[in-house]
Symmetry: D2
C-alpha cells in the first residue's frame, strides 16, 4: 500500500509468541492516540524444532500520536524488553541510506536510479561503489558520490586490501543498506558479518538452482523452461541467505544463452526493486533463513 | 495459511474506522484467553466520497477461549453494536453448506468435487442443481443430492416457473453459498437479492472485458494476447458484481477459439476454486462493489 | 531468438493460403544458396467469413546468398505478385528509424532509451517529440533530436495547428515507426491513416477493459484483481487497434489507485519494450484487427 | 493449435543442419499434394561443442495427400536416410497408448483422467499401474485396466521382483508412453533404458532445485518465494532428464509446508497435462538433455 503523504511512524517487531501480544501492542498505540493506518501481523506456528514466533508491522499516523518519536521509543522499550523483542520504531520520512555496489553490468543500477528519481524508491544514496570506473560519469551526473575500489588479487595486499577500502567507504557513508546490484565480487565473511540483514544481493537465477557463476549458461545447459532472479540477503555462505523476492519468466527452446541474459535482466530488475522497496519501508523481518515480507 | 488441525474460531468484522479499534477487538479476545493464530487487518483510507473503513479477520484457537461459541457471540454483540459493525463469529469446523449449479460444461464442477474429496475445500454439498440431466449419474455416484430444474421459456409459466423451483430447492437445502459453476442461466433479480454476497459465479473472461455470452469468441475476435476468468459475486447487474479472484493465461496468434476454450478452462477452475475456498474460510469481506480478500 | 552477429536478411510475407506455398518460398531461398537461420510460419485456417491466410518470416544468413539485397527483391517480386502477397525483404543491419512521442510521464521513454543504449533495441531514434518541454535536457544529453510541439486547443488554429507541426516533424525524420510512449494526445484520424501499422501505443489497461482516460482509476473502482497494459497499433478508433502484447500484474484490496499506477508502470514498460522489439525485428504481421507475432 | 477435425498426418524430424533442408522436405510434401496446416521449425545454431541441428514438425491434411500412410513412409525413407534424420510420420487419429503409474496421491491421475474424458488429451489408456490398491475402484469404474504391483524391498526377490512385473505389464500393454503421475518409486535403470524419451515424470519442484524426496519441505526450509513443478523425461539419473514444461506459483511467508503441497498440486497438474498433450501430439523432440517443444 502506498505510504500516505501524511507523516507515518513505523513500528516493526518480532518476538516469541504468547497470548495477548497484539492486544498489548495495539493498546500501547491506542493509549497514545495512535491512528493505525496499516497493520500486518504473522504468527509462525510452533514446530518440533522451533517455538512459535510473532511478527508485526504497524503504520501509525504520526500526527495522531501524543508522544514524539524519542519518547515513543523510550516508552516502548520496557514492553519490548519484557517481550524479548527485536524491534524498531522509525519515522517513515527519515529515508534510509542505501549504498549501491555495481561492476560492469548497469541494468539494475539504472533501474534503481530511475525508481529513485521517480519517487518509487524513497531513499538516500550516499554511495555508489564499483570495482570499475565505467559508471562514474553517469553517477556523478546524478550528483551522487562515486567511489572506485579495484578488487585485484594481484595487487599489494591482494583482494583483502581492496575490501578494506570498501569497508572504509561504507563506514564513512553511514549506510542502512548495501545493495549488490550485479556486483560481481564475493564479499569477505567479516564484511558480511558487520551488516547482518543489511546487505542485499540480486542473483540471476531462481535460487537454489544455479548457485554461483554463470547461472544463465547453466540454465541453458540444463534446458529449464523457466529462468529467474532472486533477491536475497547476503550471508557468509554464497547465495544461501534469506530470500526476499523472486521473479521468473518462461523460456523456449529457441532462446539461446544470450536471450536468457536479455530476458533475465527484467526479472533481476523487478525482483531487486521490490526487495529494496520492501526493505526501506520496513516491510521485511528475518527469521532464521526465512523472511517475513509484508507486501505493498 | 492452512487451518491448523486444532479447532479454530473465526471472527470476521467490518465497520467504520476509528482510533483504537484493533486494540479493543484484540483486548476482547485476550481477556478471554484467546490465542490468536492468524490476524488480518485492512483499513481502507477515507476518500472524498467515502469514510475510512476497517476490516479484520481473527483466527483464534478455540481451546484457549474461556467462553463457548454462543457466549462469545453474546459477549461480543454490545461491542459490535457500538462499532456499527457487520460481523460473524464462526467455528471453522462448522462447514458451510454450498450448492453447486451447473449446465452442460462440467469442468468446474469436476474440479470442485475433486478438491472437496481431497479436503482442499472443506464444505458440505447439500445440493447440485442443473437445468440438464447429464451430470446426475456422476453426482449420485458421489452420494450427493442432484436436482434437475429445466429452465424453459416456452414452458407453462416460462422461465419464472423454473426459477421458482430453483428457489425452493435452495431454500430447502439451507445453503450458505450458491456457486454457479458454469450455470448458463441468468438468475432473476429477486433471487439474487435474497442471497446478497452469497452467490458466486465464474465468468470466462477477465472482467470487465467481454461481459455476457461467448467471451472466448469475442476475445479471439479482439485479438487479445491474454485470456482469463473472473470469480465474482452475483448481483442483479450481469457480470458486474464484486470480483473475488481472476486468473489469466497468455495466448498466441495460433490459438483458435477452440484453443481459448481449452486454455480458459484451467483459468476458470483455478479462479473459482480459490474464490470458493476464500469464501468458506471467511476470508472475503464485501465493501461496495469491491472485495477485501485475506488470502491463504 | 537473438539475432546472430552475422548479417541476416529477413523475408516477411503474408498471402492467401494455397498448397505448396512454403515449398515455393523455401525453394526460392535454397536456389540462391540461402542458409535459413530461423523459420516461422502460421496458417490461419479458413472460416465462414474469411479465406485461409499464410504468414511467414524467414531469417537467412546474408553471406550464404548468391544475390545481393536489391537483386533478391527483384527476383522475388514476380513470385510475390503471383501469390498476391504483402511482403518485405530487409537487411537486419539496416536499423529501423523510430520516433518516440511522450507527454509528462517518462517511465516508458526512459525504459526504451535504456534498452536502446544496451543494444536490446537495435534502432535509430531520429526524433523524440513531446507536447511539453520537460524531457528536453535528458534527450539532448543523449545526443538525440528533441522537438517540442504544444497541442493547445485554444491556440490559433487549435489542436489541428499543433498536429500539422507533428506531421511535418515526423515526415522530416523519415521514420519507420512512431511509438506513443505515454503520449497523452489522441492523434487525428488522417495522421493515423498515413502510418497504418506503423504507429504503436502503450495503453495502461488490459484492453478491451478500460478504454480511454484514467484506466487505473476505473480499474480500482471496478475492483479488479489484475491490472495490466496493452501494446497495440493505433487506428482511428481509440484504443481499438491490433494488439501486439499485453502484460498483467496481480493486485490486492490494499492497493490504492496510486499503487496501481506504480505497479502498472512495470507492465507498461515490459509490454511496450516487447512490442517495439518485435516490430523492429520484422516479427509482427497484421491481419485484420489481429496480429501474428513470431516471438523471440 | 487445436488439431482440426479433419484427418491430419504428422511428420516429425530432427537431423544435422544443412542448406535447403526445409525446401526439400516441403517439396516432398507439395509433390504429393499435401496441404500444410501447421509448420514448426527450429534450427539450433552450431556451437563450439555441437554442430547445427534442424528440427521440424509438419501437420498435413491427410485427405490432400496422394499417398497413403505406408506409401508416404516408404517414399520418405530414402530422403530421411540421406539427411541422417530421426523421424516419424503418424496419423494423428491413431491415438498413442499411454500407461499411467501412480502411488497414493491421486490428483495428477484424476486430472489426466478428466482431461482424457473431456477430449483434451486424445490418447488410449491401456494400463493404470500402482504399487497400492487404493485407486482400483476409481479406475475400474472408468472401464480401464488397473494393475497392482507392490514394490516391496523385503519381498522375495526384493524390489527387482516387483519391477520385473512392472516391465511385463508395460510390455503386455504395448504402450507408447509411460506417465509417472506421482509414482513414488524410482524406476530401475534398465527399465528407463528400454523406453528412452517415452517415460515422463512430474517432479514437485522447479528443477534443478530440490531433486529427490520431499521437495516442498526443502522449499519451505530454504524460504523460496516461488514453488513449482517440472514435467520431464526420465533417464537413469534421478530428476535429471530433459525438461518438457515447468510451472510455478508465488508463495508467501504465511504458507506452511502443507500450503505448499496444496498450491503445488495445481502446478503439478498443469505442467504434467501440458507435457502429456505435447508428447501425444508429436510436439516434443529431444536433443541431448534439452527438448524442443512446438507449443499449441
Amino acid at each position: 500500500m502506498m505510504l500516505p503523504a501524511m507523516s507515518t511512524t513505523i513500528l516493526k517487531l518480532a518476538c516469541p509468541d504468547r497470548v495477548g501480544l497484539l492486544a498489548r501492542i495495539t493498546n500501547f498505540v491506542a493509549e497514545r492516540g495512535g491512528n493505525l493506518l496499516e497493520v500486518n501481523q504473522f504468527t509462525d506456528p510452533a514446530s518440533e524444532t522451533s517455538p512459535g514466533w510473532f511478527f508485526t508491522r504497524l503504520a501509525i499516523a504520526t500526527d495522531s500520536l501524543s508522544s514524539d518519536l524519542e519518547t515513543l521509543r523510550a516508552e516502548f522499550a520496557p514492553l519490548a524488553t519484557e517481550l524479548q523483542a527485536d524491534w524498531t520504531i522509525r519515522d517513515a520520512r527519515q529515508k534510509m541510506r542505501v549504498a549501491i555496489f555495481v561492476s560492469r553490468l548497469g541494468h539494475c543500477l539504472a533501474d534503481l536510479l530511475w525508481r529513485w528519481h521517480s519517487g518509487e524508491l524513497e531513499m538516500d544514496i550516499p554511495l555508489v561503489l564499483s570495482n570499475h570506473e565505467q559508471f562514474r560519469p553517469i553517477i556523478e551526473r546524478e550528483g551522487l558520490p562515486f567511489v572506485h575500489v579495484p578488487i585485484d588479487p594481484t595487487a599489494d595486499g591482494g583482494k583483502a586490501a581492496g575490501f578494506a577500502k570498501v569497508e572504509s567507504a561504507v563506514a564513512a557513508a553511514h549506510v542502512d543498506l548495501i545493495v549488490l546490484a550485479r556486483y560481481m565480487q564475493i564479499l569477505p565473511p567479516d564484511l558480511c558479518a558487520q551488516y547482518p540483514g543489511r546487505i542485499m544481493n540480486i542473483h540471476h537465477s531462481f535460487l537454489p538452482s544455479f548457485v554461483g557463476a554463470n547461472p544463465y549458461k547453466k540454465a541453458y545447459q540444463r534446458g529449464v523452461k523457466l529462468i529467474g532472479a532472486t533477491c536475497h540477503y547476503v550471508t557468509s555462505e554464497l547465495d544461501a541467505g534469506p530470500i526476499i523476492d523472486q521473479e521468473v519468466v518462461r523460456v523456449e527452446h529457441y532462446h539461446q544463452p544470450e536471450d536468457l541474459l536479455r530476458l533475465g535482466r527484467d526479472c533481476e530488475r523487478l525482483a531487486l526493486a521490490r526487495g529494496v522497496r520492501a526493505h526501506i519501508h520496513d516491510r521485511v523481518l528475518i527469521h532464521g533463513n526465512r523472511t517475513v515480507v509484508f507486501r505493498d
